[in-house]
Structures are given as C-alpha cells and as structure tokens.
C-alpha cells in the first residue's frame, strides 16, 4: 500500500509497473528519493551530464497548494542552466515594490530597484506546482534527447539498508514491495524526511511557537503587483502580522499570523477564513471584491538543520537537510542551491575523476549556506514575533521611527530576501589574486552580465570554464580527464554595457577566472599560466590536500 498524503495538482508520473519489481534488486548509480523541486532538479542536472538517475516518488505527480511562491534570480539562473529558467520567468509575476504597514498606517515603501544587466529579475512569484512542473517538463525533454533519467511514481521507500559502498532500499508500490540498490542515494524527501528518520539521524533546531494561515484567493479586482506587509494589522482577527502578495493566474497569497494557541480545525473553516480575508480587503477597497478561496493551509515552522548533509553513501538536500521559516524565501531557493552544488561533484566522483571526499565539501558548503539562511530567517521571525515585552518595545520603536526617518528602515525586518550563498573560506577555494570586485570574489556565484550576444551565464554551462577577460586563457582543455571550457572576452568587443568590466575587472585591466560547474568562482588572477590553472582546478575538485 502506498499512502496518499496530498492531492495532486499535475499528474506527471502515474504508477507503472516495471520489470525490476519482479527481479532481483538492480543496482543504480544514483537514486533520488522524493520528486519535489529539489529531487527533480538533482535528477535533471545529473541526467543532463549523462549520469543515470532513478527518481522514486511516493505520489503520482506534483502536490496541490502554492507553498513556495517566491523564487530568486539565482534559482532562475540555475534553472536556466538546466534548461527551464526562462519558462519560469515567463509564467511568473515580477514585483519590485513593497509596502510595510504598522496597524492602519504605512510605515514606508521600498523598491527592490533591480540592477540592470541580468537576464532574470531579482524575484518572481510563482506557485510551487508550476515550478515543479517546469522541471519535470524539462526532464521529459532531456529524456527525449537521451538523458538517462527514470521517474517511478507511487514508489514509496519504506526501508533503507546502508552498506559501505551502496544502499539497499525497500520500495512499496500498488503491486507490493521490491528492492532497489543504489551506489548513491540523494534524499530529497522533505522536512519530515522518512529516510532521515529511518537512519536515526537528528534534526535539531529551534521551534517557533506560532501558526500561520495561508489563504490563496483568486480575484480579478485590480490590485497593484506589490508586496504588502502589516505588523499588527488593523483588520479584525488578523493576528500579529499579515502579508498580501500576488501570484500568476489572478491568485493572491494572503498570510495571517495567528499565534500559538489556536484551534486549527476551526481556523480552517472557510467561513472564518473569508471573514478574515474580507476584513483585510475592505481596508483597501472599501468593500471586499468577489474572490474564490483557491487553497488554504495552516503551517508552523522550525529553523533547524542536520549536523552534516553527507552520511556515507547518502546525501541529504533541500528541506530534508535543513528547514527555515518562510520569511525571506529561503526554503526552495536554498534547496536548489544544494542540488546545484551537489550534482557536479557527485557526477565527477561517480566517473572516478574526483575523490569521494569532494562530497564532504558539499556538506561543508551547504551547511554554511543553511546556517546563513537559518540566521536570517530566525532574525526575521524574532522581529515579526517579539519573544519578550522589551523586544516588542524595540520592534515597535523601530516601526515608529521608520515612518519619519530613513535610518530606521533597514532595521525593519519582514524577511530578508534570499541572496545566493558565497562559499567564503571553503576548502575548494583557490587563489583570489585579481584584486577584483567583492561580488565576484572566490566562492561567490558569477554575476550575470549582458554580452554582445546573450548573457554571460549562458556561456557557463555546467562544466569548469576559464573566463579570460582582456588576456589570453591558458592553453588547457582538460585536467586529469575533466574537460575545461574556455571563454575569452574583450571588454572592447563583448561588453556593450560595461557590466563585465564592472563586475569582473574592478579597477584592473584583465582577469582570468576559473569557474566551477555550478558557476561559483573557484579562483581568479590578473593572468595565469597552465600549471597555476591546473593546480587551482585540482583544489576545486578536492585534490588540494593530496597535491
């Protein structure tokens, strides 16, 4: 039996019996457990590199409910490397203006003022089911082009047996259980990760005693495409804070912070939800416009992570590895950065081109990312929900001052929106010897920039690349079997807006960047020879200690 835990928005991989179910356990190089956005992105990334992946999901498609709605530029860039970022951006809603209210009064408004010269906007709002569907659609495209990816729906993992060099899974299906062997297992099975529980691993952190009610409403009334956030909202029964944010298809996300001691069942009564939504909309429009309730849910959250994300042959990614509050859009966005970090490393290890220890750097780098997200998300939560009388006094003092004085506005924290993680001081980092801009320092993800044709990130397609600006790239096309791409740019010819010079040269005349397959900077110099480059690439694949 395979339990149905949620309703399906898009049925994308209905159960089909496969011959393996009647045969002795078959060995797969990689099995991904969990077909959410993170698992599917991992499968797509590995499959596009030619590494066979089997995805096991206990449902037949994408679950209903908007859930994650805010996707960052970095996520779109990663998705575009995988082939589907533009589809997401085209469907998504772009927003720049946010308004912050305290009670009935507007405290201030902000504009994200996105920097020009990037293919993608700073953020889009998009319901998670679309995000997931676009990735699965792209997997279908990749499969048709020969990518070795297989998805098995309604295959629920019920047992994990760990061995030194592989894992054996027991998988339940509508036709009964069978066994699957995996050289490597990627667990993307969500915050309640059954794999983590079956392995007896801890998931410690901080519980926030609060309940948030989500109401997605569909209305065609004209509302500006802005993010509105209320501290201590003036409308009846709204709770401690409220959020209004637009999604595609005329859907509006409304969030109410209800506090800890609530009757969940009563609060989910549509009559009660409608009363709240009416009260909110009436403050803006006089009379509440017509709307339909699309999806409602009550959630609580925790900020926590696993101690490490690699346990032998099992790698944890996404919510299974770390969980944050929703403020700041750091859940799905950080999960996508996990797979971006993991896929190329696992691919090299499976091909025997990098030591297994490279996978420990996946854990180190993404634990660093998770800690950054947990810190930001905990701080936002403490501002939203002051935990003591005096913290509330300070919170309201900040809001009071922010109405009049610009200095207090940066202290207002309704969620610090996700920015990509920089892998500062990590073991794979090579020399930072260019004296260049801080934003493209070693460890940082490459900033996009318009070229004479297309954008820079289009030219960094998931393999090691040497980016040489105003100087020749060393003559290196591979290092110990690892292909190295070359991108030579001249700011005179290829940099129509000056963004390449500004973002990569700083005040210098030239630069050579070694860029990892996940588009993070591995090393940079003003110029460099082949031996220097080879050595940095060795460091970047975890051979540094052996060299």
């Amino acid at each position: 039996m395979v339990d149905v835990r949620y309703d399906i928005a898009f049925q994308l991989y209905p159960y089909e019996k496969v011959p393996a179910q009647d045969q002795p356990a078959q060995r797969h190089p990689v099995v991904v457990v969990g077909g959410g956005p993170i698992g599917m992105a991992a499968a797509l990334d590995l499959g596009r590199k030619g590494t066979p992946v089997l995805v096991l999901d206990d449902h037949a498609g994408v679950g209903q409910g908007s859930r994650a709605i805010c996707f960052s530029k970095r996520t779109l860039e990663i998705a575009e490397r995988l082939g589907t970022g533009q589809a997401m951006a085209d469907k998504g809603v772009v927003w720049n203006v946010g308004k912050v209210f305290h009670g009935p009064d507007k405290v201030f408004e902000f504009n994200l003022l996105p920097e020009a010269g990037h293919r993608f906007p700073a953020f889009i709002n998009l319901q998670q089911p679309y995000f997931e569907k676009f990735i699965v659609d792209e997997i279908r495209v990749a499969q048709s082009q020969g990518a070795p990816i297989e998805i098995r729906g309604q295959n629920a993992v019920t047992g994990v047996e760990r061995h030194t060099d592989h894992v054996v899974l027991t998988v339940d299906t509508p036709d009964g259980p069978y066994r699957v062997e995996a050289d490597w297992l990627i667990a993307c099975d969500g915050a309640r990760s059954p794999i983590r529980d079956m392995m007896g691993l801890t998931f410690d952190g901080r519980v926030f005693e609060d309940n948030f009610l989500i109401a997605d409403v569909k209305m065609t009334a004209e509302f500006p495409t802005e993010r509105w956030f209320w501290f201590e909202p003036p409308f009846k029964g709204a709770g401690q804070s409220a959020l209004l944010h637009k999604q595609p298809d005329d859907i509006w996300r409304i969030d109410f912070q209800l506090g800890w001691d609530i009757d969940r069942k009563a609060e989910l009564d549509p009559v009660k939800i409608r009363a709240r939504v009416d009260a909110m909309l009436e403050t803006q429009t006089g009379q509440a416009p017509e709307y339909e309730l699309e999806w409602t849910s009550i959630y609580t959250f925790q900020c926590r992570r696993m101690e490490r994300f690699r346990h032998g042959r099992v790698l944890f990614a996404g919510d299974a590895a770390h969980q944050v509050s929703p403020f700041g859009a750091r859940g799905a966005n950080s999960g996508i950065q996990d797979t971006d970090n993991l896929a190329w490393k696992l691919d090299l290890v499976i091909r025997g081109l990098a030591p297994e220890s490279l996978l420990d750097t996946y854990s180190a780098e993404r634990v660093h990312g998770a800690d950054e997200n947990i810190l930001n998300s905990s701080r936002a939560t403490d501002f939203l929900t002051p935990k003591s009388e005096i913290s509330k006094v300070f919170r309201n003092a900040v809001l009071g001052l922010a109405r009049k004085h610009a200095f207090a506005r940066p202290l207002v924290n309704s969620g610090r929106l996700s920015v990509p993680c920089v892998y500062d001081d990590m073991p794979l980092n090579g020399p930072d010897a260019q004296d260049g801009p801080e934003r493209t320092r070693v460890g940082a993800p490459c900033a996009d920039a318009p070229l004479d044709q297309g954008f820079l990130l289009d030219r960094l397609p998931g393999r090691f690349t040497v980016l040489a600006i105003n100087t020749p790239a060393p003559e290196v096309t591979e290092v110990d079997g690892i292909p190295v791409g070359k991108l030579e740019l001249s700011t005179a010819r290829h940099d129509p807006t000056g963004a390449v010079a500004e973002r990569y040269l700083g005040g210098q005349d030239s630069a050579v960047y070694l860029i990892r397959p996940d588009q993070h900077v591995a090393a940079r110099w003003q110029s460099c020879d082949a031996d220097t480059l080879r050595s940095a690439l060795g460091t970047a694949i975890g051979k540094g200690a052996e060299a």
């Binding site: 005096i390 006094v393 300070f394 003092a397 001052l401 004085h405 200095f407 207090a408």
Partner: protein, 62 residues
C-alpha cells in the same frame, strides 16, 4: 575610535533635566517606548559597531 567613558556632556545637569522632562507625564509603557526610540536614534548616530558593542558592555556592567 573607542567608546568615550569620560565626561563629555556640556552642562550635565541641564541635559539630565531635558532627559527627565522628555518623560514627563508619560506612562511606564510610553516611557519605555521613548527610551527604546532614543537608544535607536543614538545608536544610529554612533554607527560604529565596535563602539556600540562597548556601549552595550558598559551598560550591562552596572
């Protein structure tokens, strides 16, 4: 720059008067709110995180 803990306010009695006057007629919670705003305004004026850290330390160490 480090935190100045030597006398630095001209006419200290006058300043003290103004500080108390600002709280005149306020309830306890209004006074708490005023103090919080004052801390934030002054902290921003100082700006220097190291100095602010020293100030927090000095204030804690009664």
């Amino acid at each position: 720059m480090s935190l100045n803990l030597t006398p630095n306010i001209a006419d200290p009695d006058g300043f003290y008067d103004e500080l108390l006057a600002a709280h005149q007629g306020l309830s306890k919670s209004e006074s708490d709110a005023l103090n919080a705003r004052l801390v934030l305004v002054l902290a921003n004026h100082v700006g220097d995180r190291e100095v602010l850290r020293e100030a927090l330390e000095a204030a804690r160490d009664e």
